[in-house]
């Protein structure tokens, strides 16, 4: 607004979709790269698999040990 008075910044644009267009450009360039695509999708798949295995392990442990886990011995305060 004030900083941009009389189009002081040389990068000034009136295009309100300028950012969206640049983002789209970057996305298109990213997805056209075979390696980047493979890396990104492998990461998503890997995280999903890890989460599934974690939940499955939690369920198995809960089934074995019950809702509150194994019994704890109270330690003395002193």
């Amino acid at each position: 607004m004030y900083a941009n008075k009389e189009k002081a910044k040389h990068t000034h644009t009136e295009d309100r979709f300028y950012g969206a267009k640049r983002l789209k450009e970057i996305g298109t360039r990213f997805w056209s790269d075979h390696a980047a695509r493979a890396y990104f999708l492998t990461m998503i798949g890997g995280i999903t698999l890890a989460y599934y295995l974690l939940v499955e392990k939690q369920d198995r442990l809960r089934h074995q040990q019950g809702l509150v886990g194994p019994k704890e011995r109270l330690t003395s305060l002193d």
């Binding site: 809960r62 074995q64 040990q65 019950g66 809702l67 509150v68 886990g69 019994k71 704890e72 109270l74 305060l77």
Partner: protein
Amino acid sequence: MVLDVDETIVSYGDKAYRLRAALVPRPFLAELLDYLSSIDAEVILWSASSERYMKQVVHAIDPSGIRISHYITRDPIWMSRDHFYEKNLRWLGRDLNDTIFIENRAMSVRSCNQNAILVEDFVRGEYMENGQDYPQNDKALKIICQVIKDLETSRKSVPAYLSDKKVRVPDVKEIACHLAMRQMPDELAVGSFYFVGDKFKAGATT
């Protein structure tokens, strides 16, 4: 020892009075918890409340953190979202012979009624005309404490102790399941509920 929280060991009043926040413990709660920690019992609070509220309750009744071993709060892993949710002691993975459950809601303990003692709803008196907590002269937790002492000396399992009318504390009464809850299906209505106080009409065992 598994304890329910709301209307069993504490009462928070109802929603209209939340601004005047006060958590009222049931009479003899401190004595019961002190006795349980003195015999090194595992005390579990099991409530359908939120975890935030449960932390407040634990902070209030056990500030030093040595009386309560675990707490269980509202979670879809055990609780259904209707009014028919239950608290099944088998899910805790503990020996049922050594586990006793104090509850105020018969529906919650329908699957482990052999190990459960029902108590009257403990309701904070602030929104009543006389301002007294209900029930008056409440000795339920004192009786529960006596039951624990008896269990220690008698060396019996909890279901055997509770079912034996000659051995158990005379204040613990029993009522047939189908009389306590009319809507209970026959396959679940096995045995009887044990209760303290005037929650049900005493002596109705058939």
